[in-house]
């Protein structure tokens, strides 16, 4: 009896997935929800609040909160036993006990060996015994009702045939005749209607309802359970209007069968709807019919609100549809992450939505004016929020302020709408405004509201060119790791050193930077890093001198090593220090997952001329080494050649193809930064002044290092050196730069033109002149053989000639 299946609806349709691409995301988290849908008057309608995440809404639980689920059937049983048996025992009796246990009590009129849950004297008197007899019968029926519904594969399901049905029904008929208690008679009748319906004996189901259920004259929960089964039978008989009306009644009269009756409700055309409407007797039934049509996510809820208003203006169902429509508007207007589009739609309704909002506003204004609706305060709060969404901020504020109610949730809502309108309507954020905003932060408990405040505040700050505060509304300094934006760095440095910050400013510093001192160290590092990779080593050095030599900003991370098949801890680059001297090394071929020793084998940097390169460096030491190498690189001898070569290695290693490509981006490992290089917009991101705000700033990776500097330095090294092996290696390394430049230039080609389809392009004469050079001048060197062995493209190149 616990598990029901909806057999009467063969409505499951083969979906369109065969011809559609699909994706998965949680659409309910993608917007700021500022209007509480749970403000509706009738909580039993709450499954029908708007959600796109699942079929029916469930109020999100606060931490530690447990969802209270009322089992209305058990409540009925409790009443039946005059409240003398606790829920847990009733639960055992109804759902867990076996036919054997119950039959034994009935046969022996005692509790010998009975489970303790069943030891209630009520079961030994006549009324209780009749209940047990009913439950024995119900448990026999259960197998047909659940039909192994826990198993979705139908091949293992049991099917009820006519003889099995007849036998069970006969037993039910006899029990119905014998039982005197009307409530139990109703339950037996319900079992018979359900049994018939699930067996596909629709005429029998309807007959049982007419002859067994109705004459009892009881309209309790079980009556509606039985009615729902009758609806299913009517539906199977294609009496769609009658079935729909039946489900309307169940929907309207049960607290726990609303969802199932809605699931079963189906109207195919206007005629059926009109017929169903004619069958509705009370205004509330008509309201339920409109609400059930309007509940469909695609429906125009406003039209159905108008329909309900015309027949039952005080119906709670209007509120349900109203909050759903408002929630749809919030989703359209306050979507997260919209600031990177061409034009921001945040709080900026499109024409069609704007005209819809105006219609919703008009409806609500009229409803308040005519005063036929039930809760004027609710409607005022609702209307105020509509004004807010429609950019009528002053009106929204005034109306919100006018609401006086004892309903705390409603007042809280009005305050939220009032403040949201105030904030959205501000032209300038000054000290006075910041005080008000700060005090609201202290008052609100809604995380969505806090995020919304930052969303709008960040925007307003950006508009008034308050870059530091705009940035801190959504970011801590790690957002600058992939994009060391100098304008923002400078603004932040000024902001951190600003004296007499107000409460909101202090909050921004505390939340995002920790404290002023650590903030300013981190900023000097980031700014220095900007100059380091911009090639202004002198300025970089000045800034790094302000950073403690043991500073670090990244924690050690663990990652899965596929070669070792185990987790390993990366004790490498920490954001500032622990940069390996191998940043000046190279190899013919490496894999990103190789460890440093395996990946980079060239040890030229160990030459005593480069004594200043230490095994591990911080950024200051790195800059100092680069400066030294630059000095040596002007020499026209072997040292000059090697200095150029080491600088070339450095430049190559920080490109997308280099082993240390993570260092500019403050990443520990070199393959978690893959996404930065796949960011197709990274070459030309939208200027930040044109963004709505800085939400998502961390994803704007703008760094991009070319291969030209490395290539030119390798060729200079070749030119300066007299050592054939060294020259060969330099030319080969130049060929790697050449390949990467080719990749970059051709990355957007369609497949058929790309090197995926035509791999020989990767070692053609046109695209690889350095291969030709290596072959022509250095084929006698040892390195030539090494390159031939370890570089597949080079091998192909040679084989093709």
């Amino acid at each position: 009896m616990k598990k029901y299946i909806i057999l009467f609806l063969s409505l499951i349709l083969a979906n369109n997935s065969h011809v559609l691409a699909c994706s998965w995301y949680d659409p309910d988290e993608d917007y700021y929800n500022l209007f509480d849908q749970n403000l509706i008057a009738d909580p039993s309608l709450s499954p029908f609040l708007l959600t796109y995440y699942s079929s029916y809404y469930e109020k999100p639980l606060e931490e530690g909160e447990v969802r209270e689920v009322i089992n209305y059937n058990i409540e009925e049983w409790k009443k039946f036993f005059d409240g003398k048996i606790v829920n847990a025992d009733l639960n055992y009796l109804v759902y867990e006990s076996t036919i054997g246990e119950l039959s034994k009590i009935l046969a022996t009129n005692s509790f010998a060996k009975a489970p303790s849950e069943l030891m209630h004297s009520e079961f030994l008197v006549e009324k209780g015994k009749a209940a047990l007899e009913y439950l024995v019968f119900a448990k026999k029926c259960e197998q047909w009702a659940t039909l192994n519904s826990s198993d979705d594969w139908t091949y293992s399901r049991k099917k009820m045939d006519k003889p099995a049905f007849m036998a069970t029904a006969k037993e039910g008929n006899l029990l119905y005749a014998k039982t005197e208690n009307k409530e139990l008679k109703l339950r037996i009748a319900y079992q018979l209607v359900r049994l018939s319906h699930y067996g596909g004996f629709n005429d029998d189901a309807i007959r049982y309802f007419t002859t067994y259920v109705e004459p009892l004259g009881i309209k309790n929960l079980i009556y509606y359970y039985a009615l729902e089964q009758k609806g299913g039978a009517l539906f199977n008989q294609k009496k769609y209007a009658e079935a729909a009306y039946t489900f309307v009644k169940v929907f309207d009269n049960t607290p726990d069968r609303k969802v199932s009756s809605y699931n079963s409700f189906r109207i195919w055309n206007q005629l059926q709807f009109s017929d169903a409407l004619k069958l509705c007797i009370t205004p509330e039934e008509k309201a339920a019919l409109y609400a059930m049509r309007g509940y469909h996510n695609f429906s125009n809820g406003l039209k159905e609100m108008e329909n309900i208003y015309s027949v039952a203006p005080a119906s709670a169902k209007i509120e349900l549809l109203a909050v759903r429509e408002l929630n749809k508007a919030e989703r359209a207007l306050m979507e997260l992450g919209v600031n990177y589009g061409d034009t921001s739609s945040f709080l900026n309704p499109k024409t069609s939505l704007h005209s819809y909002l105006i219609k919703m506003i008009k409806f609500s204004e009229e409803a308040i004016k005519e005063n036929k609706i039930k809760r004027v305060d609710f409607w005022k709060a609702y209307l105020a929020h509509l004004y807010f969404l429609n950019n009528q901020y002053a009106k929204a504020e005034t109306l919100s302020k006018s609401i006086i109610s004892t309903d705390k949730a409603l007042i809280q809502q009005a305050k939220r709408t009032e403040f949201s309108s105030y904030l959205a309507g501000l032209n300038k954020i000054g000290i006075a405004e910041e005080d008000i905003i700060f005090s609201r932060f202290l008052k609100t408990t809604s995380t969505d509201e806090r995020s919304f405040i930052y969303e709008v505040l960040g925007h307003k700050y950006l508009v008034q060119n308050d870059l530091a505060k705009a940035f801190l509304c959504h970011n801590n300094l790690s957002s600058l790791y992939a994009n060391h934006d100098i304008k923002i760095c400078n603004a932040l440095i000024d902001f951190v050193s600003k004296k007499d910050k107000n409460s909101l400013e202090n909050k921004l510093v505390k939340d995002q930077l920790g404290d002023e001192k650590s903030g300013s160290i981190a900023l000097n590092d980031i700014k220095g890093t900007y100059y380091l990779f911009a090639g202004d080593y002198a300025t970089a050095l000045e800034l790094f001198k302000k950073v403690p030599s043991d500073y670090s900003c990244l924690n050690n991370i663990t990652r899965y090593n596929y070669n070792l098949a185990s987790e390993e801890t990366l004790d490498g680059f920490n954001g500032y220090g622990k940069i390996s001297a191998k940043i000046f090394s190279n190899s013919v071929r490496f894999y990103f997952e190789d460890n440093e020793a395996k990946a980079l084998t060239d040890l030229t940097f160990k030459d005593k001329a480069f004594y200043f390169i230490t095994d591990q460096m911080n950024k200051q030491q790195l800059v100092e080494s680069i400066l030294q190498l630059q000095k040596l690189s002007v020499k026209k001898d072997e040292i000059g050649a090697m200095a150029n070569y080491l600088l070339a290695n450095y430049f190559f290693n920080i490109t997308a193809a280099g082993y240390y490509r993570n260092i500019p981006y403050y990443e520990q490992g070199n393959y978690s930064i893959y996404s930065y290089y796949n960011n197709s917009g990274s070459d030309n991101p939208k200027p930040f002044e044109k963004l709505y705000n800085f939400n998502g700033f961390a994803n704007r990776a703008t760094l991009s290092f070319g291969y030209e500097s490395a290539m030119n330095l390798y060729l200079k090294a070749e030119e300066l050196s007299q050592n054939q092996e060294f020259k060969a290696r330099s030319v080969f390394m130049a060929s790697k730069c050449e390949l990467e430049t080719y990749h970059k230039k051709n990355e957007d080609l369609p497949y058929e033109l790309s090197y995926w389809a035509k791999p020989w392009q990767l070692y053609s004469d046109t695209n690889r002149p350095m291969f030709a050079r290596l072959k022509r001048y250095y084929s006698k060197t040892k390195f030539f053989t090494e390159a031939k062995t370890n570089c597949v493209y080079f091998k192909y190149y040679l084989n093709a000639r």
């Binding site: 369109n16 011809v19 559609l20 998965w24 055309n269 049509r293």
Partner: protein
Amino acid sequence: MNKKYNYLVGFLLLIYIFCACKKPHQKEVSFYYWNTQFKLDSTEKKYLSQLQVNNLYVRFFDIVKENGKIKPNAIIQIDTTHISENIIPVIFIENEVFRNTDNVSIDDLVDHVTKQIDFICQHSKIKLSNEIQFDCDWTATTAKSYFYFLKKYKEKKQQNIVSATIRLHQIKDKSKTGIPNIDKGVLMYYSTGNPLDFDDKNSILDNKTAENYISNISDYPIPLDIALPIYSWAIVKNEFSETKLLGGVQKRELADTSFFGEIKKDFYVVKQSNYLKGIYLYEDQKIKLETIFPKDLLIATKNIKKNGYKHSNRVIFYNIDAVNLDNFSIEDLNKISKSL
């Protein structure tokens, strides 16, 4: 003229003579059947018999993943007592089913699928073909699991031929998405766009877009039948710019000008709220109608041939439904299949 060139001309001539002597390749026409309840009406039966359809691809059930559980959905109910065609079961599997799914679960799935197909066949007393087809829009990340599923199913040797649908992107990006180890594939030459975009392109089949995907079709290492679309649908857009698909809508259903007004070719507005395909549409909602006509499919077959498609035996139309057959006469379908 050099010697090499002479040989080439001679060789090409030989090929030409060889080809010219051969009878035109006779393509077998087939259909997909995609409804939950299997019942053929008289029009559908007429098409099947006059097009000499011997094999019908019937969707038996879908396999979906809900809250992490792999389960069947929309299992077919076969009401017809007599079906003269051989039935080839088609199982649609949501790509999600293979995301982060271990091999043990896939072994179980193979077992369930085998038993479920047997069950359906036994209960409906239908003639089974010696082929089965799996339909999954797999991607690079799910390829490994899906291919494992196919391998395991093949090992059961329930049918001689295991085929699978191949989508356009899987042809184009075969180096990324991989090639399943099956006996043959069916190229789904449709679904070129996202219908929910509500733009001017026909999302069912835009011939220009489709052609971009098949330039390397001749390299595809397994034999490919071709599936062509004959379906139509309407896309409705509401006040919040949300869109919804209504399957099987034809132009004539939008012809009543008291209910629908044509804004421009294939775009309509709802003038008066009313039901369409069981969905209540409200005044001012917009509708885009997408239909495929015989001429579109003739361009499609021309493009497929032009790109070096090595034909196999079958052309399968998606999908047989009296509504879809409105736009395609028996002669049209014959002509299209012969043009490939």
